[in-house]
Amino acid sequence: MDMFINFLVAAVLAGASLLYGTVGEIINQKSGHLNLGVEGMMAIGACAGFMAGYRFDSLVIAIIAAFLSGAAAALIYAVLTVTFMADQNVTGLTLTIFGCGLSNFIGEYNITRSETGNLKLPEHIMSQLRNIHIPVLSDIPVVGKLFFSYNIFIYLGAIIAIIVYIYLFKTKTGLNLRTIGENPAAADAVGIHVVRSKYINLLIGGGICGIGGAYCSMIVCGGVWMSDSVNGMGWISVALVIFAAWSPLKAIGGSLVFGAFSVLKYYMPKSVITLPNAFYDMLPFVITALILVITSVRKNKGRMQPASCGVNYFREER
């Protein structure tokens, strides 16, 4: 039983970066942009968050830096695809190559300039990154461990997912955004500011991805800078959007499931089955591939990608 609770907790921790990436990408796709740059935006957020935390020793500044830098990366994407109407696939891929390269570059650049040969977050911020402890609540057996004893990123992620859900599905602005994602010409014809709205939402999505990146570099790597800390999470996030059927709420469940797959190797009792580690590492990607196939087999009009996703909008197109 303890083992199982530990497994669930580990799954939550492993899935958190996916949640940020997925929610960010959902906003992107709802505005009609299939952004393949999630990995890059997360990498840039990872770097900015870590470096800001390293320099200023403040979690708040780190998170803000991660958000802003993710948004800045998204701004490159937005300028190219919204204003310059560049191919979304190529732009997204480039953003990933650029973002990962920049992130690693800045990381190594700072390492070579550090005295110790590595970068370690200062003590104060490390204490802020530790699991929270709420009196009484955190002490309840099982429940306390399962719900009230995580680091701050976990709660922030869940709150962001819920807010984004309300924003997308319960407000007029969200309805307008979804209209853009489905049919930008229809949105434009009813007076919705398509370009402005796309910019704002791509930036917000990018910012959320950036925080997800900061989670990777600051929590997953245990406070020591490592290259490639995002390590494919951005790509899984893109796929998880489909699994979550473009709903931020389902993304919470989805990231938990995927988190579980990625930590399975540590919790699978050796007596049940012994498989090579590589197999477990491969599992999230295999599952994602399977989900892609399954969703394409069951074509469901309610569970479809926003119709204009991947297609740039030009008002005077004839």
Binding site: K172, N176, T179, A186, A187, A189
Partner: protein, 514 residues
């Protein structure tokens, strides 16, 4: 123009002066003038490509004029975006509906309106109030993808009225409606006129201009040639203004020579990829030397009928006999290889009939490229054919290698039809061959079809303009929801009778009742 001196300009809801708009090197609008008053229906008449939609898109903020001015209620107005246009009380119903398929009618209507999201019940009441006044009926919870064309149009109208539009622009609203639905739309427009709305209706159908409008502004090649009072004109005069020269409005209909059954379709049932019925128990014959017209509301199974005969679709049951040989189950390639000379001019010219980024040469070998021996393609005969067609059909293109999507609609159709006729078919299937063409190009196409008919070719003609179907075809088959509601003699049937059959009445009911 003369009336300008009598009426103060502030009486006009909208007044456009000297509007010019160019796309690249194409001048779409060239110093166009247009005005409409409140409580008036203005028809904007012009051929395809004369710049009607471009002009209206500038009123709705989609395009921005290069020069010229727009006055709304006598005041200079700058319309930079659809939001500006809506703020001025202008509402446009586009020919290609601007609706979100995955949303409900309600979400489509309220999207983009200012203010917070109200409760569904309150919104529903607001909208019902508008629709009841005009006698409109729509299920607000219904998803757009489940709607018929006329339901979608109703949603579009509600959308602009909900925003409080007092100036209404309708772009070819009747193109997709049956005669009966058209009448209903016109009744509604008359109610709105009596309530003081200014209405601009774009059309190229003369009888509708005469039926609904108070005044007519005619555009020709991007220029506004004249504005006349409807009461003081007639269809013949309007046509001359529209085309720029006198044209005979009648289409030639030569008698079929020695018709013999060529293609028999027996109890054909076809499903769409999503499992819904496309065609149900369709039976008919096509004779050589005859034009069989097909009428029906858009999406009644016309597309599937053509594609099935051409061997592009699988079927549920039935048979298609070509010279008594069943061609069902054969692929398009096998049908071509069997020597069955059948040509198919699909409705989606650039998306199906042609490869739009290729030049004429590349498109000429689309169906014949595999005939040459060896792994390599032979472009020479294709280029020669392209050059010949350019001469024979007077196709306007800078070269045989310019992508065909750069050509005008009429020339694209000539490329497609020319290639198909060149293969000397005995059966020619054409779907909406004159869609988007101007009158002269349309008559060229009718001429080409009649030429084929005289050669003994059987022609299956899918049309949308009932007037043309009535004049060109020998027989007309009417489709409704994938079923044949009747096959009638084109010389005796009336437009209203076709309209009833298009909405489900059978030929016996319609003709029996007279």
């Amino acid at each position: 123009m003369a009336e300008n001196s009598e009426i103060k300009s502030s009486d006009y809801a909208i007044e456009c002066k000297e509007i010019t708009k160019t796309f690249g090197t194409v001048v779409a609008n060239d110093h166009v003038d247009l005005s409409v008053k409140y409580g008036e229906i203005l028809a904007l008449l012009g051929e395809n490509g004369s710049g009607k939609t471009t002009l209206m898109n500038m009123l709705s903020g989609i395009y921005h004029p290069d020069s010229g001015s727009i006055n709304v209620l006598g005041k200079h107005a700058v319309i930079n975006s659809p939001a500006d246009s809506i703020a001025l009380g202008i509402g446009m119903i586009h020919q290609h509906f601007k609706l979100v398929e995955a949303f409900s009618a309600l979400d489509n209507i309220i999207a983009g309106t200012p203010g917070k999201l109200k409760k569904r019940s309150a919104l529903r009441e607001d909208i019902s109030a508008i629709s009841e006044k005009l006698g409109l009926n729509v299920d607000l919870n219904k998803k757009i993808y489940n709607m018929s064309v006329s339901e979608k149009q109703t949603v579009e109208i509600l959308k602009v009225l909900y925003r409080g539009a007092k100036i209404l622009i309708l772009d070819e609203p009747t193109a997709v409606l049956t005669p009966q639905e058209t009448e209903k739309l016109f009744d509604m427009l008359r109610i709105m006129r009596s309530e003081g709305c200014a209405i601009i209706i774009i059309t190229h159908k003369l009888n509708e201009v005469m039926a609904i409008s108070d005044r007519v502004t005619i555009l020709r090649k991007g220029q506004s040639v004249e504005t006349v009072l409807t009461a003081e004109t007639n269809e013949k005069k309007l046509t001359e203004l529209m085309v720029g020269k006198p044209v005979s409005l009648s289409i030639e209909r030569p008698e079929p020579i020695d018709p013999k059954p060529l293609l028999n379709v027996y109890h054909l049932s076809v499903d769409k990829p999503d499992g819904t019925v496309a065609l149900e128990d369709v039976t008919f014959d096509i004779y050589s030397g005859e034009i069989l017209g097909v009428a029906g509301v858009a999406g009644s199974g016309q597309k599937e009928l053509c594609e099935t005969i051409a061997g592009l679709n699988g079927i549920r049951s039935g048979a298609v006999l070509y010279n008594k040989e069943n061609i069902i189950g054969k692929t398009a390639k096998e049908i071509i290889e069997l020597g069955i000379s059948m040509s198919f001019v699909p409705e989606d010219r650039l998306g199906m009939g042609l490869a739009s980024s290729m030049g004429m040469t590349g498109n000429m070998m689309l169906k014949s490229y595999s005939k040459s021996k060896g792994p390599f393609i032979d472009k020479k005969p294709a280029r020669e054919l392209a050059e010949r067609l350019i001469k024979e059909l007077d196709i306007k293109t800078p070269s045989t290698e310019i992508p065909v999507r750069m050509l005008s609609g009429g020339n694209v159709q000539k490329v497609l039809l020319g290639r198909e006729i060149e293969s000397a078919p005995s059966l020619l299937i054409t779907a909406y061959p004159v869609r988007g063409l101007d009158i002269n190009s349309s008559y060229t196409i009718y001429g080409l079809l009649n030429e084929q008919k005289k050669k003994g070719v059987a022609v299956l003609f899918i049309g949308e303009d009932l007037d043309v179907l009535l004049e060109l075809s020998d027989k007309i088959m009417v489709l409704c929801h994938g079923r044949v509601t009747g096959i009638v003699d084109a010389k005796t049937v009336t437009k209203e009778q076709l309209g009833l059959m298009m909405t489900g009445s059978t030929a016996e009911e319609v003709l029996g009742n007279g």
